[in-house]
């Protein structure tokens, strides 16, 4: 590979790319987002009887269309987590926090979201968490601000 001619000579310019189109969420994902606006969490029962949350449109194993929406809890258990020490643009919280897989009560699978915690020592696998809702109802995922630690152990 050629050596740098002179790093000082290299011109630089910012490039911001947008991908700003809107999506139709459909009857399953749309129902989940609609319920979020009402401060409720929905899953869906798959053909094997498991409750998948967030709900998916097709059975993960057989590919059959799924329709049986099930309300699940707004509290849950941390199944895995990692610490986000450097917060990036677009992430739900502006301060360092945990990224986590959270199994809501009544669900058999985990959802990805973040936990507002001051320090990684506060978070552990098996910890109990609950939803923190936006103070005023907004559309879609925005109404679910993050999770926060709750009492007890899952």
């Amino acid at each position: 590979m050629a050596e740098s001619p002179d790093a000082g000579e290299i011109l630089r310019a910012p490039l911001t790319i947008g991908y700003d189109f809107q999506r139709t969420t459909g009857p399953v994902i749309g129902a989940f987002f609609t319920a979020l606006a009402e401060r409720r969490m929905l899953g869906i029962r798959d053909t094997g009887g498991r409750v998948v949350c967030p709900p998916v449109e097709y059975d993960p194993e057989s590919g059959e269309p799924l329709t049986d929406m099930v309300e699940v809890g707004t509290e849950g258990t941390v199944r895995s987590w990692s610490w986000v020490s450097r917060v990036r643009e677009g992430q739900p919280l502006a301060t360092p926090h945990a990224l986590a897989l959270i199994q809501l009560d009544g669900a058999d699978t985990s959802m990805l979201h973040v936990i507002d915690a001051a320090d990684p020592s506060e978070v552990s696998t098996g910890a109990r968490v609950r939803v923190r809702w936006a103070p005023e109802s907004v559309d879609g995922f925005g109404n679910l601000v993050c999770f926060e630690l709750a009492e007890g152990k899952g």
Binding site: M1, A2, S4, P5, A7, I10, L15, I17, Y19, R23, T25, I29, V52, P54, V56, P60, R79, S80, W81, S82, W83, V84, S85, R86, R88, E89, G90, Q91, P92, L99, A100, L101, T109, S110, M111, L112, H113, V114, P120, T125, F141
Partner: protein
């Protein structure tokens, strides 16, 4: 099945950032090199296929621009995948199997340095439940490492040993970006970058390119004294919805290995595309590799990780060692997506 082999491999001296070159300038010498090594001209190549990402290049159809590196004349038959170059190789292999080509040029490349790679990679996620959270690729990998640690499937010391072994091996790889490693005890004393991952657990960010030439039958024997024959190749995928699957495993890697005939005989060498230390352990388990197999003698993705090239490099590294007579049978693995979601397995053999 037609006998198809890798007969030539060329790659960059990988670097953290190559600001003085654009993609065409970075890729062109690699393509020139891979053809010159076998004394071939582009007119002797029947099909060209590349792997790259518009999200990294920052413009739509960026691979069309990069085709300038192949030359404007003569006109060529070409294709592209928005995936690692290993999948471009799979497409080229199919083209040759179908009888539409006897030779193929395959390359993969990226310049990850202009953007924030861990953030850009979040765009591989679904746009409804995962994408809106903009989770970075390192924190996502941390979820997988944590699940393995919690399950007793790996220890932080084992992860550090994988990093140490890989980067020590990279000392003999002229193309590697990271060479050499502090001792394991020192690695374990370092702070977390994304608890439970330390810096040594993560692949570097790399600008680089790789190219290979495929040829069928007698053409392969003409171009290589010991062609690295593709005896099996298969790719499979696990659900992108990793909240609903066991992320301590990658069943698609094991399935692809079985379909590629990995178990039909012993392998001596494996190049596994594991951008995070714990992922090497997952892959060893899924592929059933024993301690007798030499794993990642190049240093692996932990020593240089040009996105869209790191998987094709694994194929090239195994092929080179077979062609050099160092080994007779090996396996190369490539991955795409987060948490080893998509996996491609190739079994390569030399003539005995």
């Amino acid at each position: 099945m037609r006998d198809v082999a890798i007969v030539s491999v060329a790659q960059s001296e990988h670097r953290r950032a190559v600001p003085e070159l654009n993609e065409v300038e970075m890729v062109q010498p690699i393509i020139q090199g891979v053809l010159e090594q076998i004394g071939a001209g582009i007119s002797e190549i029947d099909f060209t296929c590349s792997g790259s990402s518009d999200y990294l290049a920052g413009q739509a159809f960026s691979f069309v621009m990069t085709l300038d590196a192949v030359g404007a004349w003569p006109p060529i038959a070409e294709s592209h995948v928005e995936m690692d170059g290993a999948w471009a190789l799979y497409e080229a292999w199919l083209k040759i199997q179908a009888g539409h080509a006897d030779t193929a040029l395959v390359y993969g490349y990226s310049k990850a340095s202009p953007g924030d790679l861990p953030r850009v990679l979040s765009r591989q996620l679904d746009p409804y439940y995962y994408g809106p959270l903009w989770p970075d690729s390192v924190a996502l990998a941390g979820l997988q490492a944590r699940s393995m640690l919690d399950a007793g499937a790996i220890t932080e010391a084992e992860m550090a040993e994988i990093a140490h072994r890989s980067r020590t091996a990279a000392e003999s790889n002229p193309h590697a970006q990271l060479k050499g490693s502090p001792p394991v005890e020192e690695l374990l004393g370092a702070p977390y970058v994304s608890d439970p991952l330390r810096r040594h657990d993560c692949a570097p960010i790399t600008d680089g390119a790789v190219a290979v030439v495929l040829a069928a039958g007698d053409r392969a024997r003409e171009w290589s004294q010991r062609p690295a024959w593709i005896r099996g190749i298969d790719h499979r995928v696990d659900s992108h919805n990793f909240g609903a699957r066991d992320i301590t495993r990658a069943p698609s890697a094991g399935l692809a290995a079985r379909r590629a005939g990995l178990g039909d005989g012993p392998v001596q060498v494996a190049e596994l595309c594991a951008p995070f230390t714990h992922q090497e352990k997952i892959l060893r388990n899924e592929l059933g590799l024993g301690d007798e197999v030499v794993v990642n003698p190049s240093g692996g993705a932990l020593s240089a990780n040009p996105v869209m090239g790191a998987g094709l490099i694994r194929l090239g590294e195994v092929a080179n060692r077979i062609s050099a007579g160092e080994f007779d049978r090996g396996v190369a693995h490539a991955t795409s997506g987060h948490l080893l979601q998509q996996n491609l397995i190739t079994v390569l053999e030399g003539d005995s």
